[in-house]
Symmetry: C2
Subunit: 360 residues, 2 copies
Amino acid sequence: MTRVHNFCAGPCTLPVSVLEQLGDQMADFDESGMSLVEMSHRSSEYDEVHHRTLDLLRSLCSVPDDFDVLLIQGGATLQFAMIPMNLLSVGDTAGHAVTGTWGKGAFADGSAVGDVYAAWHGEQHNYARMPLADELDVREGTRYVHVTSNETIGGIRMPDLYALDVPQVADMSSDFLTREIPWDNYDLVYGGAQKNLGPAGVAVVFIRKSLMDPKCTHLPKYLRYDVHAEADSLANTPPMFSIWAMGLMLAWIDTNGGVAGMQQRAAERSSTLYDLIDSSDGFYRSPVAKGDRSHTNIVFRLGDADLEATFLTQAEQHGLMNLKGHRSVGGIRASVYNALPTESVEALADYMRSFAGGQA
Amino acid sequence: MTRVHNFCAGPCTLPVSVLEQLGDQMADFDESGMSLVEMSHRSSEYDEVHHRTLDLLRSLCSVPDDFDVLLIQGGATLQFAMIPMNLLSVGDTAGHAVTGTWGKGAFADGSAVGDVYAAWHGEQHNYARMPLADELDVREGTRYVHVTSNETIGGIRMPDLYALDVPQVADMSSDFLTREIPWDNYDLVYGGAQKNLGPAGVAVVFIRKSLMDPKCTHLPKYLRYDVHAEADSLANTPPMFSIWAMGLMLAWIDTNGGVAGMQQRAAERSSTLYDLIDSSDGFYRSPVAKGDRSHTNIVFRLGDADLEATFLTQAEQHGLMNLKGHRSVGGIRASVYNALPTESVEALADYMRSFAGGQA
């Protein structure tokens, strides 16, 4: 089997060992005569997979006892709706740090549900940097401040997570499990699985238990955090494959140094690429303020669109796939999520040096 | 590989050929050097899988051109919320035929969102039969009547889908693609995939296009049908594995006679079991009115709870799995969804005859 180097920003590369386990067990799970995805979600076999996944999330992320760990369908996008629906009561308001495409999504849905405002807006900064904590305009009566710790498309990252006087809610989809979470400052942390944790189809929500009292009984069942919490995320049929695969990926993270190990990997691998960009005499250019550069989504530009197109075409010929920047911004983007082998980053760096040399 | 006979009511048995394709391709999809679940959901490879699945749903179900086919996460449960959110305007009301556990779920969430009423309630009938069309109390100003065409837990089924003067919305989760849909009478038909169509993680929604005009711009993005429709269900990262697997299962249905073939299979296989029950001199008893017996969930009772426990234990020794009735009602339930091999039904019938004989 030939593996390509997959820098995809959406669904992520997975460890080959995880894919092979999924493939080998697909038609017969642990000699049960059934696939796991054919079993009842109330079966002992699935229950063990489900709770092992929840337990791994809790231990890897050092989740405090007063938080619940939830697995919910609909991606981070459904969370954009559920967060204000569950957390904002009449008279409450929420401030949003609008730092890029994902921050805009959360802000738009917050506005559809309740009274929210932009505590900071990146438009005037071309979404090329994150705000400092003291740049946030946090108004009186703010229930929470919503932040996006890493913007996948802009390639920017909060270098330090804030300590504010009001609770925060964080979308960590694109840097989940690549950094420690300072729990004291957060009421809710969430993210889709498909960047750092496994295949698409499930989102992880860490939520402070006290937020679910009183219960949100005015909402329909699927949209209530307390319903998912009370049923250990088994209130209805869960996305069993996505949870099974995430559990295998989390076990892989655990044996590869945990979150601290992933954090170091992300810092080293992104440095390899940023150092190369910065020492290229302007052949490659990073549009992002140095201190705010993402450790997981490395975006850069070349001389012009034609040169970028040539770079991408030749990259594919070297087995370096999915390096095209998001269609809304263009350029090049290398996403280096947890499961990407370090050899893939080295192969990209070699290619970048060679491409720049060939054009000189 | 030894396969058991899997009568699970929740996630369903899948054809071995489908599981083997998923397993064989899990680490390397079509020699791309990647798994499909590692690819961008904007890639040409995934796009082909996605649209083939949508096209198969449209052709197999003879979906009219003025309907959209949507793939949404959250199961039928999230649809319980989205339907009234999208379809009920201020001043509208909806009537619900409350025919069992699933009908109650849809009614409860409808009540959380808008002004709905019970057009018929099965409680007084112990949920053992469906209402006749003329038993429904359809009030003036009713926007739609919500029906559950088959109740998984009670094992009851609407023998004929209604033709009413008002549009209907139907939850067909547990008899999806086992019967034709009389489109003229429906505004929206939906169901989770995990009973007749594939693994859990995705729901199918057929919706009349005119319902999305005007757009539901007051709702958050994930909860808007028009957003999913305009993006061909790619507005955010879809549950790629579930859709891939469903596409393979739909292709299997297509080569095995389509919906007409599945309808005939369901009628024949359920008859095998009901005939055996009815000719057992009361050893096995069906609690369901004859005309309303489900073709996919065959529930029955034995003399007492001890005998039922013995029946279940010995069934497992014969490789007949997941026959226990839902915990809310007890008894025995054999779910015979589309992909269950006919040999499994024959093996169950043989065992039932032998067990009754042994007790005589």
